[in-house]
């Protein structure tokens, strides 16, 4: 467990380092995600070395963003002011994205 956690933290660190020095508009942890994927893909690291911590983190992923949900209380006024466009946008764009993805997949899959 500890070894796998160190691996994950090292990749996160590397991602943050790249983000900091290259000044790219991509967050450090997303760079870390790409790097660990590539490292596994090219067999630079073994799956079993990173799996224990990674499974744990993915399992409790939802807990880690609860504080951000609570933070919404600070912006209650802003949301209340623009609830109408926000509601419409969420409904429309979710429906659009859902349908287009499904329809494209189904259409291409038949060929």
């Amino acid at each position: 467990m500890l070894k796998s956690l160190i691996y994950i933290f090292c990749f996160l660190f590397l991602g943050e380092l790249i983000h900091y020095f290259l000044d790219v508009p991509i967050a450090g942890n997303i760079i870390g995600m790409l790097l660990i994927f590539l490292a596994l893909f090219f067999k630079l690291i073994k799956l079993k070395d990173v799996k224990p911590a990674s499974d744990f983190l993915v399992k409790y992923l939802v807990v880690f963003f609860i504080p951000y949900g609570v933070g919404l209380m600070v912006y209650a006024n802003l949301i209340a002011e623009y609830w109408m466009p926000v509601t419409i946008v969420v409904l429309l764009s979710t429906l659009l994205s859902l349908y287009v993805t499904g329809a494209v997949y189904q259409k291409l899959d038949k060929k």
């Binding site: 995600m33 504080p67 209380m73 429906l95 993805t101 329809a103």
Partner: protein
């Protein structure tokens, strides 16, 4: 009292306790619309309001919980690698569908909000609304939006997709299970994926992968698309 509540142990314990209680409540009520994150957030806000504690004080401890979002996103890379094997045969179709669907989702959000005339801060906060929360929060930080708004809207989007996604898709003629899974993951991230797993294991796997890919695609493209739309439409 504020000094006491600003001890990190308060925010940490309250968050974990709320999540634990939400699980117990779900066992009792067990409704489809029951979302543990949503319930936990409401429980915590109620406690904070009752004790007259502001968010900053709570976040003194809660920030240690949200710290783990960083490593979790890296862990999604491991998940991606592990599951990729299972879509190998459909990889091309899968990638095209996620790319097109994810892009249209993102562009439609920004476009409608700009045309409606809402402040830029709202579109900056909502551009990543279909993406899994930890990645969406990072995207919003880069776009200089408000991550807390993103988190709230992302969860609502997920609940919507979970509750109505598969019904709507069937009504519109999408019956292929892998297509439904891919669509749920692209449009409604992890919460949609939970629904996809109820349909079938393979639909769930496709959904989880679609969630990861859409997260990556949005993270890579959102800053450019947002600027481009701002420049050409404003």
């Amino acid at each position: 009292m504020t000094v006491f509540f600003s001890l990190p142990i308060f925010g940490v314990t309250l968050t974990l306790l709320a999540y634990f209680i939400s699980g117990k409540l779900k066992e009792r009520i067990g409704r489809i619309f029951f979302n543990r994150v949503f319930v936990s957030v409401v429980l915590i806000i109620v406690v904070l309001l009752m004790l007259n504690i502001d968010f900053e004080t709570y976040n003194n401890g809660a920030k240690y919980i949200s710290f783990f979002l960083g490593p979790s996103v890296v862990a999604l890379g491991v998940f991606l690698y592990e599951k990729l094997e299972e879509v190998k045969n459909d990889l091309k179709v899968f990638l095209i569908a996620v790319f097109v669907g994810g892009l249209i989702g993102m562009i439609s959000v920004i476009l409608i909000l700009i045309l409606w005339g809402t402040p830029d801060i709202i579109s900056r906060s909502l551009a990543a609304k279909s993406v899994t929360t930890p990645i969406a929060i990072e995207i919003t930080k880069i776009l200089e939006g408000i991550p807390e708004i993103t988190a709230g809207i992302v969860i609502i989007t997920g609940i919507l997709g979970n509750a109505f996604g598969s019904i709507v898709l069937k009504k519109l003629g999408v019956k292929n299970k892998k297509a439904i899974g891919t669509a749920l993951g692209t449009a409604a991230h992890g919460i949609g994926t939970a629904k996809a797993f109820e349909i079938s294991i393979s639909a769930g796997t496709y959904s989880g992968l679609a969630m990861c890919f859409n997260g990556l695609i949005t993270a890579l493209l959102a800053p450019y698309i947002l600027n481009w739309l701002f420049i050409y439409i404003h």
